[in-house]
């Protein structure tokens, strides 16, 4: 039963997204532009004396950030598409359990993440000779990035179902904020002290560090950073589920859920 419900959410997203050029571009073209533009920049900087590690440093960050982006969008769009279509009330009067909703939309996020990993990973190999797949087991960091992104998406969803669609813009804003704090393009050591403390509380910071370490940048950090990233991601995900559960209940009390 729950699997049928989950398949409903996956089916809806897949059908709608596959008809929208903008969404196809977000998964296929957007990462390509990032890989190309930042790859060329990294190549230029490394050739200018920064050394070959620059390529590793930038590509690991870019790939993680793109995976975070599509994962968070997928789960957030579970609610956003309903709000846009004025169909939220129909989804929640359908026999939709919270678990079905989360699993279904997150599955679409996982599917998008795998596509993005393939596109960015293969392009990086072909165009710049950088192979992220050499991280082997430590590619599991990307799964924890997906888990964290899903948790934050549930928090955004919670704001939308309790306060209304004015919080929808967080879907796009939050990915930028996460990028700044996670040290996608720079080591977090260069950030001011208080900002560093925030960075350390963001799981993607650790996942990126672990992935970079697995590929040869500060190798000793691969395992400890993987563990910290995993624990934090699961904690954020659990928090997201709890907040979303509360938000749906709250939305039924305030009636916001019936607006869309």
């Amino acid at each position: 039963m729950m699997l049928e419900e989950a398949s409903a959410h996956f089916y809806k997203q897949f059908k709608i997204m596959s008809r929208r050029m903008g969404e196809i571009a977000w998964i296929a073209i957007h990462p390509l532009i990032f890989i190309l533009s930042l790859g060329i920049l990294a190549y230029f900087v490394s050739e200018g004396g920064a050394g070959p590690e620059t390529m590793l440093f930038v590509f690991a960050g870019v790939i993680v950030w793109n995976i975070y982006d599509v994962s968070q969008r997928a789960t957030s769009f579970g609610i956003t598409l309903d709000i846009w279509a004025d169909s939220l009330k129909h989804t929640f009067t359908g026999s939709s359990s919270l678990a079905g909703f989360i699993v279904g939309n997150a599955s679409y996020g996982l599917f998008s993440s795998v596509l993005v990993l393939m596109i960015t990973g293969i392009l990086a190999v072909i165009l710049f000779g950088f192979n992220i797949f050499l991280a082997g087991f430590y590619l599991i960091n990307l799964f924890f990035v997906f888990i964290f992104a899903t948790g934050l998406a549930l928090v955004i969803n919670s704001l939308m179902v309790t306060k209304g669609d004015k919080y929808m813009s967080l879907i796009w804003i939050l990915t930028g904020i996460i990028m700044i704090f996670s040290g996608v393009y720079y080591p977090i050591d260069i950030l001011p002290g208080p900002v560093q403390a925030v960075s350390l509380a963001v799981p993607t910071t650790h996942s990126i560090m672990s992935l970079r370490a697995a590929l040869g940048f500060s190798p000793g950090l691969a395992n400890p950073e993987l563990a910290i990233g995993a624990i934090l991601s699961v904690a954020y995900f659990a928090l997201g589920v709890l907040v979303f559960r509360w938000a749906i209940k709250r939305s039924k009390v305030t009636g916001v859920i019936t607006r869309y």
Binding site: E4, A8, Y11, L81, S95, K252, T254, G255, T258
Partner: protein, 345 residues
């Protein structure tokens, strides 16, 4: 034997007991339901203590002016909104504690429904069929049947955003019936539809209600629609139940007069009618209107008196009070008839 044929029927006696209880039970029980919405420091009392019981298999009409609380009540019963206080049960399940059990067994169709603009009707129904947990064969069977019966196949290839209001509403009706619901909530299902499509939709719903012995709660501003589909109604106004019962009983209890409309050869010199017993009022406009508690008891004396006074009756029409007049009387707006026509002199 029975235990082998019917799943979970280890004790035939208890099964029969349960089945008979289901047949006799109230499908919807509402007791002291209140709902207040708070926004920006202001509180709106949508429902102020509603009590209602709807028998299983009954089609029940819920009437009330805009903002009376009809839709809020449907939202509560379909578990979309939590009541502030009071209890409500659908098919024996509590709306707050057992919402998943309820959602599996109900269908809901609202007027002016929107779905995903990029999806085609079959895809929308596929999505909701999956949400209801229907497996692929049950889903296909139900979707094919509804698409054929509602004539959706004629616009199946168009995306929802390209459909007319009537086509969209047919998809909404199909969606509400996908899971073979035991209770169907219809919130102004024909609002905004042209006469022909409204008739199609109404007839389809009527057929399916009779075929499946479904319990239906209908809200509508189309009094004719409510009269056609329901025998019992409740009227709510400003969040309170004003009246509830059989349409005929409510009409009789209000003593809204019958109206006899007579077309005569002339309309002067009718003063003699004022002296007739049982004729409570009579007035003239483009015809002679006589209002009486019971048209049957006065019609013969009136016709005889007209004949005696050499009036020719060209045509005649007897009209019972409409549901609209019942509704207006109950929500505190008087029957418009006496004001509409001048008194006979």
């Amino acid at each position: 034997m029975l235990a082998g044929l019917i799943p979970h029927a280890a004790e035939p006696a208890s099964l029969i007991n349960r089945l008979s209880q289901n047949i006799l039970m109230d499908a919807i029980e509402v007791s002291g339901i209140r709902k207040a919405f708070r926004e920006g420091g202001e509180t709106t009392h949508a429902l102020r203590g509603i009590d209602l019981r709807i028998r299983s298999g009954q089609a029940f009409g819920l009437l009330g002016p805009n903002g009376a609380g009809k839709t809020t009540l449907i939202y509560i019963l379909s578990t979309l909104v939590t009541p502030t206080s009071g209890t409500a049960r659908v098919l024996g399940y509590d709306v707050t504690g057992e919402s998943n059990e309820i959602k599996k067994r109900i269908g809901i169709c609202m007027g002016g429904t929107h779905f995903y603009w990029d999806l085609k009707p079959r895809e929308i129904l596929n999505y909701f069929g999956r949400l209801y947990g229907l497996n692929s064969s049950a889903r296909k069977k139900n979707i094919d049947r509804l698409i054929r019966k509602l004539g959706i196949h004629r616009f199946e290839d168009k995306e929802f955003g390209m459909l007319s209001t009537g086509m969209r509403q047919k998809v909404a009706v199909a969606k509400s019936l996908l899971n073979d619901p035991e209770v169907l909530f219809l919130d102004e299902p024909t609002a905004g539809l042209d006469v022909e499509v409204a008739l199609d939709v109404r007839n389809f719903i009527l057929d399916i209600i009779q075929e499946r012995n479904m319990t239906v709660l209908l809200t509508s501003h189309q009094m004719g629609e409510v009269e056609q589909m329901c025998r019992r109604i409740a009227i709510i106004n400003q969040g309170r139940l004003v009246n509830e019962g059989d349409i005929r009983d409510i009409r009789d209890s209000l003593r809204i007069p019958d109206v006899i409309h007579l077309y005569l050869d002339r309309y002067s010199g009718l003063g003699f009618l004022n002296k007739m017993p049982g004729v409570t009022h009579h007035c003239v406009s483009d015809g002679l209107f006589i209002t009486a508690d019971s048209a049957g008891s006065v019609i013969n004396p009136v016709l005889a008196a007209l004949k005696r006074n050499r009036f020719t009756v060209k045509d005649m029409e007897i009209r019972k009070p409409s549901l609209e007049e019942v509704f207006l009387t109950l929500v505190g707006r008087t029957t418009p008839l006496p004001k509409r026509y001048g008194k006979v002199t």
